[in-house]
């Protein structure tokens, strides 16, 4: 079994965010690899709901006991929701990065951008390469 989970219904960035389409909306979070590398997450900066950002732009920062890391938009679009439960319990990102640890919901402005992201197989390989 692979060391890190990489669900097949997600697409992945080189900076270790995932995006999953749910209807017309994209749910976005950080990957199992990212939470493992960061270790215990202690804080997440609440992003600006309503902000329109381009793919690759920073939408938040997470802090762990080891480091702080910027979170970048996998897709261009408008942030329509933030998982505010994370403000009191950022550890949900460690426990369930693809489920309860989701971070934002986005209304994407250009769905073709999904194609540029890695699929689960490519991302799993990318994680293995980095060790």
């Amino acid at each position: 079994m692979a060391k890190w989970k990489t669900p097949a219904d997600c697409r992945y960035t080189k900076t270790d965010e995932w995006a999953r389409m749910e209807g017309a909306e994209a749910v976005i979070g950080i990957t199992d690899y990212a939470q493992d590398a960061l270790s215990d997450i202690v804080y997440i900066e609440p992003p600006t709901v309503g902000a329109r950002l381009k793919a690759g732009e920073r939408f938040s920062t997470v802090e762990s006991t080891k480091a702080a890391a910027d979170l970048n938009m996998p897709l261009s679009g408008e942030i329509i929701a933030f998982n505010s439960a994370l403000s009191d319990a950022p550890e949900k990102i460690n426990a369930d990065p693809f489920g309860e640890g989701w971070i934002i919901r986005v209304k994407p402005s250009d769905l073709t951008e999904l194609e540029a992201l890695m699929d689960a197989e490519a991302y799993a390989k990318y994680c293995e390469e980095r060790g």
Binding site: S39, D40, V42, T65, A67, E91
Partner: protein
């Protein structure tokens, strides 16, 4: 109360907890010999000052006991990478306490402080010589302030030329965290450059990023991976060809003294950390000292005032007259008065003590020690950039066959062996990084004891991982719950009442 708080209280209570109403030391204040002024108006007076009431003996014992709980370079090996925790020779404390230096007032007339100014002038000259630069300012109070000074000078340089398109600073991903922070603080956009497989700057990425919007590049030499980038001259050429300037973060100068002059490589500006390379103490948080040196291009922009000869000596026996001058287009002051002067005295002492050959020997020994540690640890730990390193070496604090062990556990366990842990989780581009900087101060015997401890810990990681997970066991306070501490912040300082 957590276990850790209980342990700490058992070791030594807070000074407030030692307080007993009415207890005091004899006052040694002289009799009032000036007219008494009118008392303060009643609304400005307080009944209680919330100060501990303790005897002199209480105070002495409290602070001696606290100091004995400290770990310090004077007590043991302190291989904290990128911090250059070298031994601080005690002669520096003697010279900084000479009454002529210690009793100076920063506002007294320069004519009455010529010795101090001569020291500052000479130190400026020495730092220029060591870095191969043309001018120096001793103003910056620490390394990060030196960086800010450097980037503000670069900005002033471009602005004076009407070159306002330059909005970016390039920073390799192996940089000190202060480099991107400095660039952002000076108003620039930070462009991060990836490292190549050997730990150097990825030249293709640099070529792609270096355009006419780049104001400059900040680079640490040797990098925080401990390696000297063999392409450094090519890197400088690429940035210069596009009109950008080159900033060298000199925090790692301990690898380069008398070996490499950044000015001769082509750097335009750099800072020194006197509190690292030149052994002024910084274990207790400073004060630091981060002088900047520059080449001709940036000479007019130096932060000031700097010390200059304002009148040459009239004959061969006489001394010149020194004074403070503001460089022509200075970016201005960075702090009140003249830098952290006591640190300048210690650094001057250190350089004078060693001389040119001695400084070169310092870097040779620092690099030799780091490579000795690298080679001897390589059979027990993964060394991701396992080639000749500078003054520090980065290893991975994890084992494929002991998956629950992380770098932090290794560091905590090292404390049981009597060593200060290395830098953890930096640089960020190495998994479970442990950055080890032995410095030139340590003997082979000390390095061998450290290496043996690291080997023992690697064995324990497989045979008795719980020993690491629950370490340290022999320190005054055991493992602190860092996650709990970071998630549950409690403000506990005593604020004066609003009355």
């Amino acid at each position: 109360m957590t276990t850790q708080t209980a342990q700490a209280k058992a070791l030594e209570p807070l000074i407030y907890e030692l307080s007993s109403s009415g207890r005091k030391a004899e006052t040694l204040m002289p009799k009032l010999d000036v007219p008494e002024s009118a008392p303060l108006p009643a609304h400005l007076l307080r009944d209680s000052l919330e100060l501990p009431e303790v005897s002199e003996l209480d105070v002495v014992r409290h602070f001696v006991r606290l100091s004995q709980l400290n770990y310090a370079i004077d007590k043991g090996f302190y291989p904290l990478g990128s911090c250059t925790m070298k031994y601080n020779p005690k002669i520096g404390e003697d010279t900084a306490r000479l009454p002529g230096f210690a009793n100076l007032h920063p506002l007294q007339a320069p004519e009455t402080a010529q010795g101090a100014l001569a020291l500052m002038y000479t130190l400026q000259q020495w730092l220029c010589e060591i870095s191969g630069m043309k001018g120096c300012s001793l103003q910056p109070a620490a390394g990060a302030q030196g960086e800010l000074a450097g980037i503000l000078m670069i900005r002033a340089y471009h602005q004076e030329r009407g070159d306002t398109r330059r909005t970016k600073i390039l920073v390799p991903d192996s940089a000190h965290g202060t480099n991107p922070a400095t660039s952002a603080m000076a108003g620039y956009t930070v462009v991060t450059l990836p490292s190549d497989a050997r730990g150097g700057v990825d030249l293709d990425a640099l070529r792609a990023a270096a355009d006419e919007t780049v104001a400059g590049m900040m680079i640490t030499v040797p990098s925080t991976l401990g390696v000297f980038d063999e392409n450094i001259q090519e890197i400088i050429k690429i940035v210069h060809n596009r009109g950008g300037l080159m900033y060298m973060d000199g925090a790692n100068m301990n690898a380069l003294l008398g070996v490499v002059k950044p000015g001769e490589l082509g750097f335009d500006v750099m800072h020194f950390n006197l509190h690292k390379t030149f052994s002024t103490p910084h274990g207790g948080g400073g004060p630091g000292s981060g002088p900047v040196t520059v080449n001709e291009k940036l000479l007019p922009y130096l932060p000031g005032p700097i010390v200059a000869i304002v009148e040459e000596a009239t004959d061969s026996e006489g001394a010149p007259r020194y004074g403070f001058v503001m460089p022509e287009k200075s970016i201005g002051r960075l702090k009140a008065f003249h830098g952290n002067f006591g640190m300048l005295v210690r650094a001057y002492t250190y350089i004078a003590l060693h001389g040119a050959e001695g400084l070169k020997a310092i870097s040779h020994h620092a690099v030799l020690n780091a490579n000795y540690v690298r080679v001897r640890l390589a059979d027990a730990y993964k060394v991701p950039y396992n080639r000749m390193c500078g003054h520090e070496v980065v290893i991975e604090g994890r084992f494929p066959d002991a998956p629950d062990i992380r770098a932090l556990d290794i560091s905590k366990r090292l404390m049981d062996y009597g060593f200060h842990p290395p830098t953890n989780y930096f640089p960020l581009i190495v998994h479970e990084a442990l950055l080890i900087e032995p410095t030139e101060s340590e003997s082979k015997e000390t390095l061998d004891r450290f290496i043996e401890a690291m080997h023992a810990i690697a064995r324990e990681a497989r045979e008795a991982p719980e020993l690491l997970r629950s370490a340290p066991h022999t320190t005054p306070v055991s493992r602190v719950d860092e996650v709990y501490a970071a998630r549950n912040l409690t403000l506990c300082c005593r604020l004066p009442s609003a009355e």
